[in-house]
Symmetry: C2
Subunit: 315 residues, 2 copies
């Protein structure tokens, strides 16, 4: 039996899975992402753990793929730069292979999520598909004709760093007004906090306790219970999310955009349906063949599957 | 001798050229774009004119390519929609072939400009290249691996319709705050007019005569002569142009972006150099392999050459 190990390196959590060639996850394991320089050790430990847990032998593992929240050099197996974990020019593939002689593949995490949804999720069967993940930032990966779309430097669409508010909220990347400052879960929480401070009467105070403790759900919960300030936050959030999605449609015109991340689990009435109306109205495509907006299907598994299993025709 | 006819259908001008297989234009002709339903007749007249002018025989023409400012169905040779000329579902290829039995190829005009620069201009030799044309609107075409990048509906990157100012200047497309409302020659003229009305002391009044008669050069001329209001218009224009270019870099990471259109002929000190500094500072690419910003090389010829000559490996 040929199996694959997929590892998703998050800014907070490190998760791994043993995946078969039909993209089924046979075993999972996870821990906090170490920030003390022992990431490769942790990856090896998790890889051995999921292999054993699934009852597979290490020699059955034909590929160990790792999704990195940053820029990678695929050919050399080197992590070039990760804003949140602080690795510069780390020869991760060589370090892994020194202990486990298996082909090691590095890929950007947003690319892995796109590959996973394309292999086994909501993007399956589409000629072109974009996966947009709403988390700490906004990640985006694009599949075209069965391959990841990568530009120079091997960088995928960094759509989160598209400025939509000139001079707006400062972003870690150095720009001001990046889309992800408004459309990520982090952006939603900031908008929620700002609304609470303006509206001491809002139900959001009762739901969250204090501005420091808001979640991506606070405003949606309040809006469902008729709170005006909560509804305004949701409207403002969807406006900015939809605006950037329509920008992506007009730039890339993928057959489908799959929305992932915790926020995308809100009910369709308050999330997907208003977004679809907005994106449809603002898309520049006079043909009948228009981008469809759907929910991603695999959740966090997309990153594990996409890291583990190569796209058809790719090593 | 195998020759090609290339026709560039502009909102104002219709131009044609006879092009050889080394992308040299052997003869040119042009007239105003007819808006009375006689476009195919005018295209045939110009095609015959340039063929005769170059001393070629009609049977030597192996392909007649037409760049359309709108959406086309390439397989059926139908113009689906053009915002500025008002054609809906026009079977242009069939109408041409009824009088001149030659393969007729329709392409979007921004795609033709990109193909032309890729075949014979500033994008030559690049694996991926974007051509951004600053005219009435902002056109963008992308070449990846020797082919035009097209999304669903056969639509290329409609980057001009990326909103960068939520709720900003209304656009013909229905959105508000589209990039082209600020970064096109039209946008520059509007910004110039607005500044003149605020600043009756500006040199721009002397240069243009009245706000209705400003050109894309007015503010640049005033800035060169030390006019503060003119300098502010140029700064504001470059800020918005650079912001959108950095957005495109972050989304597509092409090896090169070629800037075309009349505005791009301003001197490097007031145009290309400040743009390069801004785009370089705002690009999200931690590798050494970064997008380069250059001027397009072929001017209006790019659209004729790109319409005429097929990309290598394409019919």
């Amino acid at each position: 039996m040929a199996v694959y190990v997929g590892v998703d390196v998050g800014g907070t959590n490190l998760t791994a899975g043993l995946v078969d060639d039909r993209c089924r996850i046979l075993a999972r394991a996870g821990r906090k992402t170490p920030k003390d320089g022992t990431l490769c050790r942790a990856i090896l430990d998790l890889a051995r753990e999921v292999t054993a847990a699934a009852g597979a032998r290490p020699e059955e593992v034909v590929r160990l793929g790792i999704g990195i929240p940053g820029a990678v050099d695929r050919a050399r197996g080197v992590v070039l730069h990760t804003p949140n974990i602080r690795m510069e020019n780390a020869p991760v593939a060589d370090l892994i292979r020194a202990e486990w002689p298996v082909p090691v593949a590095l890929e950007n995490d947003a690319g892995c999520a796109a590959a996973g949804e394309y292999l086994a999720g909501a993007a399956r069967g589409h000629r072109s598909a974009m996966v947009v993940t709403l988390g700490t930032g906004v990640g985006a990966g694009l599949i075209v004709d069965g391959a990841l779309f990568l530009g120079c430097g091997g960088i995928g669409p960094e759509a989160g760093h598209m400025v939509i508010h000139p001079g707006g909220r400062p972003c870690n990347c150095g720009r001001k007004g990046c889309w992800e400052r408004y459309a990520s879960a982090t952006g939603l929480k900031q908008t929620t906090r700002e609304a609470m401070l303006r509206r001491p009467d809002s139900l959001m105070w009762e739901l969250a306790g204090s501005p420091e403790r808001v979640s991506g759900k606070t405003a949606f919960q309040a809006a469902r219970r008729g709170d005006e300030a909560g509804r305004e936050v949701v409207e403002d959030y969807l406006f900015h999310l939809g605006l950037g999605l329509a920008n992506l449609v007009n730039c890339f015109h993928p057959e489908v955009i799959c929305l992932g991340g915790g926020v995308s689990n809100e009910g369709d009435d308050l999330f997907l349906e208003p977004l679809r109306r907005m994106v449809d109205a603002e898309s520049f495509n006079p043909t009948r063949d228009r981008t469809r907006l759907v929910k991603a299907a695999l959740g966090n598994d997309a990153g594990i599957i996409g890291a583990a299993v190569p796209l058809p025709g790719h090593p």
